[in-house]
């Protein structure tokens, strides 16, 4: 589903990614590891289509509507409520039966009580759960997750574990993380960015 050949990306004079090769088949799970500044986030942005490669090739066989992207930032409006944010994204992603799907996700991630609160007043962990809801809202075939566990408390991490377990195999994943232990078992391939 994703093929990268000698992929590279510069930001001005700084080369962040250089000569990266990998392939992710349908249903695969690529675990991306590496120290800070090694380009994990950049790699995910490239796969999502937010950035274009400055060297090499990258082919992603998924339309925009089939990609679920989780970044460092939650990508939600701080002054809107959780519900309003998801409603907006639900419309833009043409999610069928939007209300039901949103309700279901909010419940699954324990956000139902907080749904009418502004994102700015949510804790980091709660905001992260909302970001996960946003990424999963349209039931994407390809999931690009950048440090999905960051900020999550124990309960939140368990919810994410369950979600990943249920989706693995049917969906394709690229997950970048500092702490690979949690998802090592699910991975079908690993990429280490030096």
């Amino acid at each position: 589903m994703i093929t990268a050949r000698r992929l590279g990306r510069d930001f001005g004079l700084k080369r962040v990614l250089r000569d990266v090769d990998f392939e992710v088949p349908h249903g695969g799970f690529l675990l991306v590891t590496g120290p800070n500044g090694s380009g994990k986030s950049t790699l995910l942005s490239l796969c999502a289509g937010l950035l274009a490669p400055t060297a090499g090739e990258l082919a992603v066989e998924a339309d925009r509507g089939e990609i679920g992207y989780l970044a460092h930032e939650p990508l939600v409006y701080r002054e809107l409520t959780a519900l309003e944010n998801l409603d907006l994204y639900g419309r833009l992603y043409r999610v069928p039966e939007r209300r039901e799907r949103i309700g279901m996700l909010l419940e699954r991630f324990g956000l139902w009580e907080a749904r009418r609160e502004r994102v700015a007043s949510l804790s980091r962990g709660t905001a992260q759960r909302l970001a996960l809801c946003r990424a999963l809202l349209h039931d994407p075939r390809l999931l690009l997750l950048d440090e999905p566990y960051s900020g999550l408390d124990h309960a939140g991490a368990r919810l994410l574990d369950d979600e990943l377990d249920s989706l693995v195999g049917e969906r394709t994943f690229v997950v970048a993380t500092h702490a690979p232990q949690r998802v090592e078992a699910l991975a079908t391939a690993a990429l280490s960015l030096a």
Binding site: L50, R64, G65, L75, Y77, L92, R134
Partner: protein, 212 residues
């Protein structure tokens, strides 16, 4: 139809955000009225109609700039713009939704500015109102695109005025001409032409400004 649905969802979002935070429109209102007062002191007592009209347009221009500088601030925070760009909707819908919001803010500011102008300087005729309406579309169309460009760079509050002003000189010409001469039709038609050309250009090229 989903295109328009997207546009309205996005425009609604901007209006909702402004209603909640109330930072942009009140500032624009205050700014435009203060500017008009400053202009009173800057003009000699025998200033002509054209001079007074001209300064009104300058005030409107800079008020628009004030609003536009804030146009993509919410999207810059938390990188929400990336989230919108990733969605399968047409990127130009983001532009159009934003333009609707900007026009709404401008109209809100003008609802106060024009009566204030009539109070402080001279009466406001239908030509001026028509010119302002047409100018709002042009300012919003071009300004939204440039605001998105400036938002991607450093020093965005400085960059936007520099990009904006040369492009909107024709709007000032059209606006002042429509309100201060005997032949407003020509100038209104010119404003319409400007709007058509630059709205289409902005609509078509927004995609390229927010993607790579």
């Amino acid at each position: 139809m989903t295109y328009l649905g997207d546009v309205f969802a996005l425009a609604r979002k901007d209006l909702l955000l402004e209603l909640r935070s109330r930072d942009t429109v009140p500032a624009m209102l205050l700014f435009v009225v203060s500017t008009l007062v400053v202009f009173h002191f800057a003009l000699p007592s025998d200033a002509s109609a054209t001079a007074e009209t001209g300064l009104l347009w300058v005030a409107l221009l800079f008020t628009a700039l004030l609003g536009l500088v804030r146009a993509f601030v919410a999207e810059r925070e938390e990188r929400v713009l990336d989230g919108l760009v990733l969605a399968p909707c047409d990127r130009s819908a983001i532009w159009l939704g934003k333009v609707i919001g900007v026009v709404a803010f401008l109209v809100a500011a003008e609802v106060v500015a024009l009566p204030a102008y009539a109070l402080f300087f001279r009466p406001v005729g239908w030509e001026l109102v028509a010119a302002v309406a047409l100018a709002d579309l042009g300012l919003a169309a071009v300004g939204t695109l440039l605001a998105a460009m400036a938002a991607a760079g450093r020093a965005r509050e400085l960059l936007l005025p520099v990009l904006f002003l040369p492009l909107v000189i024709p709007i000032v010409v059209g606006g002042v001409g429509a309100s201060a001469t005997d032949d407003p039709g020509r100038y209104l038609a010119f404003l319409g032409l400007y709007d058509a050309v630059f709205a289409i250009l902005s609509w078509a090229s927004f995609e390229y400004v927010v993607t790579e």
